[in-house]
């Protein structure tokens, strides 16, 4: 089989091929070739493996005699890669893969040098290089590599650029001219180090750092699939900001997100962190299959852990073992099994989530709760003084019960509502049960009012009156409102031909003062403050008695009760029972509500013979109606409402709650969720990494989190430091941020990435320490202006012999313009906001259709990271600048340069308004001539003086615009009306409009949107 193989001499004398002298390194040189070309069929995936040969493990390759170490001529592998016979050639012709001459040469030399393997770099623990005391590890390791390559580091950049760079990288905001001058004029050699410290202490640091983490964990305000409805998660965003600001240790940051509910010291904050587990996509689509989405959610979570912490692509293991990395399907599903305990609906609406209260709000709630408890205990006091009044009630109640025999319950044939805010159903006991429609509530379509239409068939001749009972059902009271009350505004009785049956009088077993029963027949149906209400009597059943103007003459085939509830806040009746009577006039409500059957039974027991339980029950029943307690009951109801309102308005966040009833996780053959033949798996860590000693008990999310940030895990610290490097230099040390596996890129400076990872762990996962270390390095402070030679030597600047300029991230483009204009509102945190957005942008959303109400006031001018993140229709202005829609975890943002960016900066009202307000500032705050004002504006936007050339150019356009607007004042007024912000009074419109153009030009400059 082994054929002799002759080296083509030409290969070795090709220019640039001085390989022979070099030591071939498996990870750097060989693995990428094998991974790209061979592992698909000869790698970890056993199902796709050909000829039972795997090349990713040396022992296996040797067993199959793939090569002979030290002897390339006798090596089958070398023969195959040079073969020109279709059935011999490797990679095979139909694979579309072809080795280059250089790659073949590398493989040959590698075998001749002994065919040594190395474990994949990122699966080995990082080794920390020794750095001489007093030196910055970054500089030492960067310089070492530059020296090896004969490259020179660049000189330090100027201070103005440096402060702009530092602010952009750590705060995402421009410095103001004063801060720049202060820094550039500071003679102290520690000026920069002090600036770094000040910057790290800024509350905007957390905002800036949060942006990328929010990408990585796919934070968004909506569920993602189909209707893409809202969910409550914004407190998590604020938690992330705060974590960076407090410099929470990254290991703790990890534990709280994955297992914040399982920590021994779990509290509100750690639970908010655990919202991480709820950030995935979910659906409310009708017809969605639970098993399908159960699988989608599992795989979504595994991919998230892979991207955010491990820097590993795992998605392919949903269907098969990884083709390039040792990650298997079993690893994948076992990792997914860690999350099988998370309590959540698989389909449909998410729950409102946990209340998240600030300290002062928490206090406020405690105060309300204690006030309520106090009133309640007052109410529960024994009241010997009420004995006489109870005796009277008892007699009245017995009477009421007995007269009740003259009433006949009638059964509705139909019960609907006009607005569908309330859903009605009729129980077997003929009770109409009402419930607030959860979907309409969540979508904020419920205006708190509705109209019930309840229809009966065949009302008998001779009926003289009706009774509507409001019953205590399973709920806390007899009404649906927060105070368990209701306000019935108006009643109409309507025949099927719309003719009305008139009501002569309405009376009730209980009436709240100023809300008497008579208002239900006063022909006023739509006033919020007019109707029958029962606050103070919500703890007992109540009845409304209607006497008809005339007895029913001939039987009514169909009669509809139309009940208007116009008070708002869903003050509607919870459970209704209807009865009719033929009693003669007058029909009036009894003095007492009809007691329940049980209470009636007790009432019939002679006073002396009652058991303590019976006495207690009767006392309780009486207290619910005792006139002397009216005021107290009303007070209780009001405080109950206060508490309910408080809870309703409180911020809420989806969080992780562990359910002892875990979902069963199976390996799904080929990822097919309908195939239940796969093995059931328990939570387990990826098999190929160094793992803690197995324990008897089942592993939990906390174990997973602890392992992710243990010293044994070689991936997490590298992954995080690689991303940080990208934030500060524009490109990762390993370019593929989300794949440190075989198909990623070995780090361009492995020693540096390892040193950063070790330093990060050694420092106690101290993020600020790492940021400080890097930004204080001379490497970071280099000039970003590249010489032709530097570009030729290292076009992508991988070895950082200079800094790199790059465009600001989407949110920061916005922040920068708002900051320059003076519009920016620097409040930290809070609910997501809605900046201007083109009308109709959401027209393709449905279930429900939605409009986008722009925020007004301060909320219009918040930083970009607070923008409402609608996954399926990401805000178009941010989208144009590559903000990801966060449907998948995103470690790496695009950094594109497209025409839409120009359209946004030129025409989006956000930027036009910013220009207008900036222009007004120029005119108001700087009183000099045009040249002075141009200089002033330049300082605001770019923090430098304009060149003479720039002044001339701007002056020309300014004069031209001024002339144009002087001749057409209406046009000036048009541009000055863009945006909600008021213009200062007294400005000359033409001048203001002309300066708006100048400001707009400044906001559009490449230099303005670039960090250099």
């Amino acid at each position: 089989m082994i054929q002799t193989y002759a080296v083509v001499a030409a290969v070795l004398i090709l220019p640039g091929f001085s390989l022979a002298a070099e030591r071939i390194e498996f990870n750097r040189d060989v693995r990428p070739i094998l991974s790209n070309n061979c592992f698909v069929c000869h790698g970890p995936d056993k199902n796709n493996r050909q000829a039972e040969l795997r090349l990713d493990i040396r022992h296996d390759a040797l067993t199959k005699q793939a090569f002979v170490p030290g002897d390339s001529q006798q090596s089958e592998l070398i023969v195959r890669i040079h073969s020109e016979q279709a059935d011999q050639q490797m990679p095979p012709p139909d694979s579309n893969k072809q080795l280059t001459v250089r790659e073949r040469e590398i493989l040959k030399l590698w075998i001749e040098q002994g065919a040594e393997y190395q474990a994949h770099w990122s699966y080995e623990k990082p080794i920390k290089a020794t750095i001489p005391v007093g030196q910055n590890g970054v500089d030492v390791l960067v310089r070492k590599q530059l020296d090896e390559r004969g490259l020179q580091p660049s000189s330090s950049t100027d201070r103005r650029t440096l402060i702009r760079r530092l602010y952009a990288d750590l705060l995402g905001l421009p410095p103001n001219p004063r801060e720049v001058t202060q820094f550039t004029d500071d003679p102290d050699p520690t000026a920069y180090a002090r600036l770094v410290e000040r910057t790290l202490e800024s509350p905007h640091y957390g905002e800036r750092m949060a942006i990328h983490w929010l990408d990585v964990v796919r934070f968004a305000d909506t569920i993602g699939y189909h209707s893409d409805n809202p969910r409550n998660v914004w407190p998590y965003r604020d938690w992330v900001i705060q974590a960076f600001n407090e410099n929470k240790r990254f290991d703790r940051f990890t534990l709280e997100q994955i297992a914040g509910d399982l920590l021994p010291d779990a509290n509100q904050q750690t639970r908010v962190g655990s919202a991480f587990n709820r950030l995935l996509l979910s659906t409310e689509e009708g017809g969605a299959q639970a098993k399908d989405y159960e699988q989608r959610m599992l795989t979504d979570r595994v991919r998230a852990i892979g991207t955010a912490w491990l820097g590993q692509t795992t998605g392919c293991c949903q269907c098969h073992d990884h083709k390039f990395d040792p990650f298997t399907m079993r690893d994948f599903y076992s990792l997914g099994a860690f999350f099988a305990d998370i309590k959540e609906p698989i389909l449909g609406r998410r729950e409102d989530g946990m209340m998240v209260l600030k300290v002062e709000d928490e206090k406020k709630r405690v105060e309300i709760v204690s006030r309520l408890a106090q009133l309640q205990s007052q109410f529960d006091q024994p009241r010997p003084d009420l004995v006489e009044s109870q005796y009277q009630w008892e007699r009245a109640a017995i009477d009421a019960y007995k007269t009740n025999q003259s009433w006949k319950v009638i059964r509705p044939v139909d019960a609907t509502t006009q607005k569908r805010n309330i859903n009605l159903s009729v129980s077997a006991e003929s009770i109409v049960e009402a419930g607030i429609d959860a979907k309409r509530n969540v979508r904020q379509q419920n205006d708190g009012t509705d109209v019930y239409s309840i229809t009966f068939k065949n009302i008998d001749q001779g009926v003289t009156g009706f009774r509507i009972e409001s019953l205590k059902g399973k709920g806390a009271g007899i009404g649906l409102s927060a105070a368990n009350s209701f306000v019935l505004s108006e009643i109409n009785l309507s025949r099927s031909d719309d003719s009305q049956i008139r009501i002569r009088s309405a009376s009730a077993t209980f009436e709240q003062s100023s809300f008497p029963a008579s208002t239900t027949i006063d022909q006023i149906a739509d006033r919020p403050d007019n109707g029958w209400s029962v606050l103070g009597g919500t703890g007992a059943d109540q009845g409304l008695y209607l006497e008809l103007a005339e007895p029913i003459g001939s039987p009514v085939a169909s009669l509809t009760f139309i009940l208007h509830f116009s008070a708002g806040e869903n003050q509607e009746i919870a459970n209704l029972r209807f009865s009719s009577t033929t009693l003669p006039s007058p029909i009036r409500a009894p003095r007492a509500a009809i007691p329940t059957k049980k209470v009636f039974g007790y009432l019939q027991v002679p006073v002396d013979g009652r058991s303590p339980d019976q006495i207690k029950e009767l006392e309780v029943a009486f207290k619910q109606v005792a006139p002397d307690l009216n005021e107290l009951r009303e007070q209780i109801s009001r405080v109950e409402k206060e508490k309910a309102d408080f809870d309703l308005g409180a911020p809420k966040c989806l969080v992780s709650v562990s359910d002892s009833n875990k979902r069963t996780v199976r390996i799904l053959p080929r990822g097919n969720w309908m195939d239940e033949s796969g093995e059931i798996v328990k939570p387990a860590l990826p098999h190929f990494l160094l793992l803690p000693t197995p324990e008897e008990r089942e592993l939990t999310r906390l174990d997973l989190a602890q392992w992710l940030v243990s010293r044994d895990n070689p991936l997490t610290a590298r992954t995080v430091m690689n991303r940080l490097w990208k934030q500060l230099f524009g490109i990762g040390l390993s370019k593929v941020l989300d794949d440190l596996g075989a198909q990623g890129e070995p780090p361009v400076n492995a020693a540096l990435l390892d040193w950063l990872a070790c330093e990060f762990m050694d420092s106690g996962w101290d993020m600020k320490h790492m940021v400080r270390t890097i930004v204080n390095s001379a490497t970071y402070q280099q000039s970003s202006v590249a010489s032709a030679a530097q570009i030729a030597a290292d076009p992508q600047n991988r070895h950082v012999a200079r800094q790199s300029p790059f465009r600001l991230d989407a949110e920061l483009v916005r922040d920068n313009a708002l900051a320059i204009s003076g519009l920016l509102v620097r409040q930290i945190g809070g609910p997501s906001v809605k900046p201007y957005q083109p009308e109709g942008y959401w027209e393709n959303l449905n279930f429900p259709q939605r409009t986008y109400p722009n925020d007004t006031g301060q909320s219009q001018y918040r930083r970009g990271l607070y923008t409402w993140w609608q996954r399926s229709f990401m805000h178009p202005s941010l989208l144009a600048f590559d903000a990801p829609n966060r449907e998948e975890c995103c470690a790496e943002r695009n950094r594109s340069n497209i025409p839409q960016q120009a359209l946004v900066l030129l025409n989006d009202p956000t930027y036009v308004e910013a220009a207008r307000v900036f222009a007004a500032r120029v005119l108001v705050d700087c009183s000099g001539d045009d040249t002075a004002r141009i200089k002033w504006a330049w300082q605001q936007a770019l923090q430098r003086a304009p060149t003479d050339d720039e002044i001339r150019t701007i002056d020309a356009v300014l004069k031209q615009r001024l002339a144009e607007y002087r001749s057409l004042p209406s046009a000036a007024n048009e541009i000055l009306r863009v945006g909600y912000a008021a213009s200062p009074p007294g400005l000359d419109s033409a001048q203001h409009a002309a300066w708006t153009h100048v400001a707009r030009i400044l906001l559009n400059l490449h230099e303005t949107v670039t960090r250099s």
């Binding site: 692509t313 998605g315 390039f324 300029p805 995103c890 594109s896 497209i898 120009a902 150019t953």
Partner: protein
Amino acid sequence: MEARTQDKLTRQAFLGNVSQGLGSLALATLLRPSSVIGGETVSGVTSLPQKAKRVIWLTMAGGPSQLETFDPKPKLAEMHGQPMPESLTKGQQIAQLQGKPLTCFGPQHPFAKFGKNAIEICSLFPMIGSVIDDICFIRSMTTDAINHDPAHMFMNTGSQIAGRPSMGAWITYGLGSEAEDLPGFVVLTSLGKGGQNQPIAARQWSSGFLPSRFQGVQLRGKGDPVLYLNNPPGVTRQQQGGDVAVITALNRRHDQIVHDPEIATRIAQYEMAFQMQASVPELVDINREGTATLERYGCQPGDGSFAANCLLARRLAERGVRFIQLYHKDWDHHGGVKEGVELKAKEIDRACMALITDLKQRGMFDSTLVVWAGEFGRTPMSQGGSGRDHHNKAMTVWLSGAGVQGGIAHGASDELGYAAVEKVTTVHDLHATMLHQLGIRHDAFSFKFQGLDARLTGVEGAKVISEILA
């Protein structure tokens, strides 16, 4: 015509103002197909003869019933009201009908024969019938997904996982755009009158992991036709051009200090944006088409209809746009499929015919691939007595133009229309066939993402449906 000439003048003034030539040079770089940008070649591109220069993809969103459109099933009519044979349906993935009794539901409209090969389609579509000899039906199409959102994702990106590029982005990435002042991938949407307008997410035209410049740009019926296209109020085109010229001049001076190659690109992008501000309004103004054309399509200017979008699609095609995707919604007939499809037929029948004949008259038919497809089909079983549920085992799509044989029906579903049984095809096959006509080898056309060679046609293997090619 007048506006275009005037715009050319403005543009010249603009370029002259900046410095002759450089603007257009940068623009040329920008518009070159990405296969040569930055010296990186896109593999698999133009390795085959190119039949199609562009694609017009008519997405019938909501999932059209094959049984009331293009797949005749007399046997199903016979079985109407009887239980569906369990041998067909046992253990299968269905959506809202899961766990409910399954009853055959006969086609709700008669079918009629059209064209030289007497192909039977639903009689609600006589206009499509009149051009049937230019159309190839695939009656054996299948898909993986069964809910709208994932199914659209699969049809557009070949994957059910979000974050993948849509086919329009893939193709623009591979072939670049020939449009001077328009994006290479344009999307238009229209609503149906039946009230079943399922949501469509912007991710459906996302560029995914490909560079953002390949993302689809939505042409909107209301407001600015392209987001942020119009000048701010009180700003004339002349002023806008002047401001852009100043921005460009200042950027260029800055470049002399910092030597940042991104600046040249930014300058070109500003010019492109400025050009689009003139070319897009001209493009969407279908008043210029004349009454005869408007009547042929059956639309009025500004009515936002599918027919108007078809006419716009032709105008986009004329201007060199590479991939034009129309979404027409309201095909989700869980109930009232009879009336529903009747309504849809009125909305699309004439327009589809008009598009094909118009392309032929203008000599563009042979270089334009038209595809008509929903995201999935519908069940032969009844839902609620008048509708049909989502279904992924059989659906009909059709292709026309660009070297696809006309007047044929390829593949078949079983006699009840439940599952494709003859020459079964997949979404990946459809993509592969489209790429093939564009001159692209689907198995070699890839982009490195997360370390893998990601393809539109996935990893499972796809085949070009060569039997339908002329």
